[in-house]
């Protein structure tokens, strides 16, 4: 049985609820991630901050439906809104109690979770809830490819 620990990315890149949105955006840009885990002062996973959550709050009404004629206006509005939002705390924009998976979880369970919840990335914790990293769809596909290869070899 394949476990998450075999396929996961081990990283503790994270933010805390007290961090500013400004800091989150810089972290996301430099680390090339659009989702970051939120941890408490002991490094226990407590939630997730999505770039989408930030975007929704700076382009509140037309997010996802920007037509080209309004694009310039919307971008300007987003810039203006971000001037206020950037100094606000992560706590206000994070998704709390998001499901994290354990290092010891079965990869089959991860496949179900990702496909059913349409999650592109899940954070990984140890048995005590401490952050350990993440697993995303490319790792899921890697696992599925391994399974397919093994099955072919068995035949």
């Amino acid at each position: 049985m394949s476990r998450v620990r075999k396929y996961m990315i081990r990283t503790m890149n994270s933010v805390s609820p007290d961090d500013s949105i400004d800091k989150v955006i810089k972290n996301m840009y430099k680390s090339e991630l659009s989702v970051l885990p939120v941890v408490d002062h002991q490094n226990i996973f407590i939630g997730t901050i999505y770039s989408n959550n930030i975007l929704k709050n700076i382009i509140p009404e037309s997010f996802g439906f920007i037509d080209s004629s309004r694009l310039f206006y919307e971008v300007n509005e987003a810039v203006e809104n971000l001037k206020y939002v950037k100094d606000e705390k992560v706590e206000k924009y994070m998704s709390k109690n998001r499901d994290a998976v354990r290092e010891s979880s079965n990869m089959k369970k991860i496949a179900e979770m990702m496909l059913e919840n349409k999650e592109s990335l899940l954070f990984v914790v140890n048995d005590k809830g401490y952050l350990r990293g993440f697993i995303e769809r490319s790792q899921l596909l890697h696992y599925l490819l391994d399974e397919a290869t093994e099955e072919e070899e068995r035949k």
């Binding site: 081990r10 990283t11 890149n13 490094n43 350990r132 990293g133």
Partner: protein
């Protein structure tokens, strides 16, 4: 969880050529002749801990730019947990050219990496929350441009507030300031300085005097490299000399990191026996230096080196 700290990481690139000549183009066709690996003292120790079977090992520090992302990918390959503050500046590349005939070794050390003040403050915040699960913290290596010399002192103060044991390998001003925070185990090194605490040292007596001075300034235990030996200072005030015999050194790179790893490994697996831990540490360093390896692979590899090491108590 074992925590190691690397503030000035580098991508190390080794090129093996038949003959190293200036003003000559060289072409490398065999992948065996080109090695690229993540470097930095704390990181090498982290990789060693993983090789020895430790489940959770994290490496904390700075990485920067696109090369930093590449560095992090390489770290992932060793299953070390990366915990880096991403900086704007690109991290370093160290280039080593090794000629076979005649045997030459040319190194280009890159010290261009720069870290901003706000990135340093971010590291301290991250460090504080990330060491919750660790009892031992290994801090080692040089500092990038932009990081003040008191950084190790600040890190040790945070660790001490959380009741952690700290092993420090540092040099120069950073070492001097770090002693104020009372690190438990200190191993000075001499990569850029032929002095300790601003004092030039040459004779064994001078080394011993400085070892004691390091203890007077805050360290509990001290291990000072003394040529191919180590001078060991325990908490009771006794001084020992660890010496290898019948050895043939072909490589220094990774030896002191193996030493640090095996020292802590002995303590984790047994108990705090300062001299025994140093013997095992010496064996690991000896194995690395005789085998052209950078990383440890298993305890069995270096265990046989124990018989070529002795510890002698010095009358001082």
């Amino acid at each position: 969880m074992i925590t190691t700290v690397t503030l000035n990481p580098a991508i190390d690139r080794e090129y093996f050529v038949d003959k190293h000549e200036v003003m000559q183009n060289k072409f490398i066709y065999d992948s065996e002749d080109l090695k690229i690996y993540p470097g930095g003292k704390g990181l090498i120790s982290a990789v060693n801990f993983k090789a020895l079977g430790y489940k959770d090992v994290q490496n904390i520090g700075f990485i920067g730019g696109k090369q930093g992302l590449f560095f992090e990918k390489m770290v992932q390959k060793y299953d070390v947990i990366s915990n880096y503050i991403h900086t704007d500046s690109e991290i370093r590349n160290n280039v080593k050219i090794i000629g076979k005939d005649p045997a030459t070794y040319t190194q280009f050390n890159d010290y261009t990496f720069h870290v901003e003040k706000e990135e340093v403050e971010e590291l301290l915040i991250r460090f504080k929350r990330s060491i919750s699960e660790s009892n031992y913290i290994l801090i080692s290596g040089s500092l990038p441009d932009g990081v003040d010399f008191d950084i190790y002192r600040r890190l040790i103060e945070i660790a001490k507030e959380k009741d952690k044991t700290v092993m420090l390998q540092a040099s120069g001003e950073a070492l001097k300031l770090a002693l104020e925070a009372g690190p438990d185990i200190v191993a000075p090194y001499f990569k850029h300085h032929k002095s300790i605490l601003d004092v030039e040292i040459e004779s064994r007596e001078e080394y011993i005097k400085m070892g004691r001075e390091i203890q007077n300034r805050g360290a509990k235990y001290v291990m000072i490299p003394f040529h191919c030996d180590r001078l060991l200072f325990d908490q009771k005030g006794d001084v020992y000399q660890l010496s290898p015999k019948d050895y043939c050194i072909v490589n220094w790179l990774g030896a002191s990191d193996a030493y640090n790893t095996a020292f802590l490994d002995y303590i984790f697996k047994n108990s705090f026996d300062f001299l025994e831990a140093n013997l095992h540490a010496g064996a690991a360093a000896l194995w690395i230096s005789e085998n052209r390896e950078i990383y440890l692979e298993s305890r069995d590899d270096y265990r046989h080196c124990l018989e070529r090491l002795k510890i002698e108590k010095l009358e001082v």
